[in-house]
């Protein structure tokens, strides 16, 4: 009897795209985080229907200028992330990746500074009322993710400046890009809830 075998020694070792295990694991994590964010928005909506006074009268209308600038910066950063880091990783172009990461790290830090300023100027605390609790939780959770994304980008920038980059690292870079898009996109509904909704949803 002859032995039939399926020889796989010709197959590539490691890929840096959506076929890789890590890429799927990353998407799974984003599904979890996305569900968490969706439930957070649901909480805001639920509390809105449960309260006549929403946001409470004591809450000042939020300033729109700086948060909008920050949102704009974030959206622009996603473009840099895509065009320089993500495309760069596909083409194995290290310089493009490094520039992309440097720009995004800078924007990330700038965004966090503006976020800090906005948080100190909110005019209410988490312990003032349920509205304060949910808004501070939204800001806190998004800030936490933004810190993580910025920290990751800076770590990658350090890594790719001092150590060799293989397919494995290219995959890390692309997964971080996906995470970055997630953090940017999730801020859009949160931005509307925190800074725009108060102008429209208050009754009476």
């Amino acid at each position: 009897m002859t032995t039939r075998v399926l020889d796989v020694s010709d197959l590539p070792m490691e890929t840096a795209d959506s076929r890789a295990l890590l890429w799927w694991g990353n998407v799974g994590m984003l599904a979890i985080e996305g569900t968490m964010f969706a439930m957070l928005i649901a909480t805001w909506l639920y509390l809105k229907t449960a309260n006549f006074d929403w946001p409470p009268q004591s809450v000042p209308l939020p300033p729109v200028l700086w948060p909008s600038i920050a949102l704009g910066l974030l959206v622009v950063s996603a473009l840099f992330m895509y065009l320089l880091a993500d495309r760069g990783a596909v083409k194995d172009d290290l310089n493009s990746i490094r520039v992309g990461h440097a720009v995004c790290a800078a924007i990330g830090v700038a965004f966090l500074v503006i976020r800090w300023k906005n948080m100190t100027e909110l005019g209410f605390k988490w312990s003032d009322h349920a509205y304060g609790s949910v808004i501070w939780t939204i800001l806190g959770m998004h800030t936490f993710h933004m810190l993580a994304a910025t920290g990751e980008t800076i770590s990658l920038l350090v890594y790719e400046s001092v150590w060799p980059v293989t397919k494995k690292q290219l995959l890390d870079i692309r997964c971080t890009c996906v995470y970055w898009y997630f953090v940017v996109i999730s801020w859009i509904p949160f931005y509307f809830i925190v800074y725009v909704a108060p102008y429209y949803v208050r009754k009476g």
Binding site: L6, V8, S9, L21, T43, V134
Partner: protein
């Protein structure tokens, strides 16, 4: 060919060999040891929770009993429920999946072995945490679902509820990482030829379960997180007087809590299908229908949560919708039960202990399902809410639906885990004791509930007329304890002195039975190639297998999601102690936070440091990778930049 296989095996073994010693134990990343650790740890918690239940039954065996005071009793029923749901039922199913899924799909390890080790330690530390606090007198005491306002800062001062809410974070974290590993392993690491329509039914059930975990657990993490924030930093999510809402907590909890029931139950459905096909000698009737029923159950489970909240005075239209949904979900389960009956009917039955447990499941679970259909209707539910009828129903569903199949599965895969057969006589004895003991304990609770006995009362007066049925229930518990003791004794004794089992003692059909018992650290000498839904039964005499995998690295074959065509090879990490340290820093963050909020920040920063160690690769690994990539490009006539 044989010479090739021999050299192959030696190096493969050296690469995959588990480390020894304490350090080796803490660094283990193999799916089989970690799966078994989950199972053993979960069984220890099962024992603890069982002891708590036994104490409660002892207390209720006489009216006006003073054995336990109300405060102790509150802690006992809370710890019992919490332990059974979060530290036993979900983790034990995860442990089974971690052990079995990679074997069943024909790969060498789970997709993210370090994450797997991390998940186990986080679960272990979470369990140690809540039991340490319990021993120190801060046992959770607001029920396993910790409703506000009772569990809020106003009515539960102290640390008791905080331990509960943090334990949730621990266990959900662990469940979530397992869910991701299992999904990716089942979708990307299947043996060539195992297309979606050839996946073993247990693996399908774990895919559905994992997806449910992904979308259900975040809700309870948020809910218990809000509760912790309300208690620790004075937010007002559930404080009615500051614009919060108590019912919001119930929504967040049950949006997780109902799927949770199915997260426990659906893996059990997978066990049943695997056991039935082995002991009827035929493939399970209606494979496509079985899979669609699993998926349908998974979706429907998210549409029923409000039926736990009928007594909260929700709008009637909403209640009617959830009544309808609760009745609809019995359809896919019914379909599966009919498919199994057809399998039993047309197969050649071999009655062994695992099959007995499955038959026991049919009896017990169907009773539980019927009482479920009863309380799905709002008027009856309002009458029975918070009575012992509910206690009876949930135990029939969970013990019948999950524990019976689980114990069947323990017996079924015991020969694979240990390489030995268990004693059939003791197996049967433990089964009959459990079946009788279970019904004697829990059936009277239906009647007690109908007579109006509320749940969660530490005693009752003799004039209520509940004494005889309570005594009957307490007597039944003795049989259950005896059954568990016999089962464990059987396992302990047979582990050493049972008959050698061989690779496939049941003549079963899935891939784990094609390798040695217990399987070698790398699972399969050669990754198999699959040509049918019942991999071993459908295999040709000269069934091909995979060659050409690197053996000096821990390498797995990644295949395409739909048809499992070979796609590429990926190296996965070996033994490392970093996950253990990350679990420690996570514990610092979560345990510390209940005393002082800044501990959370401290733990997080420590975790970041550990994570840098996690991600930073070894120099020699990077260089080998570069070399491989260079060779790979050259072999294909490409150019390598110098």
């Amino acid at each position: 060919m044989s010479e090739y296989a021999l050299t192959d095996e030696r190096e493969l073994h050296a690469t995959w060999k588990p480390a020894t010693g304490l350090l080796g134990w803490l660094s283990e990343t193999g799916h089989k040891p970690i799966g078994l650790r989950y199972i053993v740890t979960a069984m220890c918690f099962f024992g603890a929770a069982g002891l708590e239940a036994a104490l409660m039954r002892l207390q209720l065996s006489r009216p006006n009993n003073t054995l336990l005071g109300p405060d102790t009793y509150n802690q006992l029923f809370t710890m019992h429920g919490t332990t059974m749901m979060f530290l036993f039922a979900v983790p034990v199913m995860e442990g089974m999946a971690i052990y079995l899924v990679p074997l069943m799909v024909g790969t060498r390890n789970v997709a993210f072995p370090r994450l797997n080790a991390y998940g186990y330690f986080v679960y272990l530390f979470g369990g140690i945490f809540i039991y340490t606090m319990f021993a120190l007198g801060a046992g959770a005491d607001a029920g396993w679902f910790a409703y506000v306002p009772l569990s809020g800062p106003g009515f539960s001062p102290g640390k008791r509820v905080d331990t509960w809410s943090q334990m949730i974070t621990f266990t959900e974290l662990s469940a979530l990482v397992v869910a991701i590993e299992i999904t990716v392993t089942a979708f990307k690491q299947r043996a060539p030829g195992m297309s979606l329509n050839r996946i073993p039914l247990f693996v399908w059930s774990m895919i559905v379960t994992s997806f449910m975990i992904l979308f259900a657990m975040p809700s309870v993490m948020l809910g218990s997180g809000f509760l912790a924030l309300d208690r620790l930093v004075a937010t007002h999510f559930f404080n009615q007087s500051e614009g919060g809402d108590t019912i919001l907590y119930q929504h967040l909890f049950w949006f997780f809590g109902h799927p949770e029931v199915y997260i426990i139950f659906i893996p059990a459905l997978g066990f049943i299908s695997m056991i039935l096909s082995a002991f009827t000698g035929r493939k399970v009737f209606g494979y496509p229908v079985m899979v669609s029923s699993l998926v349908f159950t998974g979706f429907m489970a998210f549409g029923l949560w409000v039926h736990h909240m009928f007594a909260t005075g929700l709008p009637q239209l909403g209640e009617s919708f959830f009544t309808a949904a609760s009745i609809v979900i019995s359809i896919p389960t019914g379909v599966q039960i009919f498919c199994w009956i057809a399998t039993l009917w047309t197969g050649r039955l071999v009655i062994r202990t695992p099959l007995l447990y499955v038959l026991g499941f049919f009896i017990v679970f169907i009773i539980g399902g019927l009482s479920g259909v009863m309380i799905a209707s709002v008027p009856l539910d309002l009458q029975l809410h918070d009575t012992f009828f509910i206690v009876a129903h949930l135990h029939y569903v969970l013990i019948g639906g999950a524990v019976f199949p689980l114990f069947g599965a323990f017996h079924f895969w015991f020969p694979k885990w240990t390489g030995r057969m268990f004693s059939e006589r003791m197996g049967r004895l433990s089964f009959w004791l459990l079946l009788i003991g279970f019904n004697v304990t829990f059936f009277p609770m239906h009647l007690l509930g109908l007579m109006g006995m509320p749940r969660r009362v530490y005693t009752y007066g003799a004039q209520m007329g509940w004494t005889a049925l309570n005594q009957l229930a307490s007597a039944g518990a003795v049989f259950i304890v005896a059954s568990i003791v016999i089962m464990l004794t059987n396992f302990f004794v047979s582990r050493r002195s049972g008959e050698p089992a061989g690779n496939n003692p049941w003549n079963a059909d899935s891939l784990e039975w094609s390798t040695a018992s217990p399987p070698p650290p790398y699972n399969f000498l050669h990754i198999p190639v699959v040509s049918g839904a019942n991999a071993l039964w459908d295999a040709a005499p000269d069934q091909p297998f995979v060659t050409g995998m690197r053996t000096h690295r821990r390498e797995v074959l990644v295949t395409k999601t739909l048809d499992a065509e070979p796609d590429h090879r990926e190296e996965i990490p070996g033994a490392t102690i970093v996950p253990f340290f990350l679990a420690l820093t996570t514990t610092v963050a979560l345990w510390g936070a209940i005393f002082f909020a800044w501990w959370f920040t401290v733990g997080t920063l420590l975790s970041v440091i550990v994570l840098l160690f996690w991600f930073w690769p070894k120099r020699e690994d990077v260089e080998e990778h570069l070399e491989n990539e260079r060779k790979f490009t050259l072999e294909r006539g490409g150019e390598v930049p110098t």
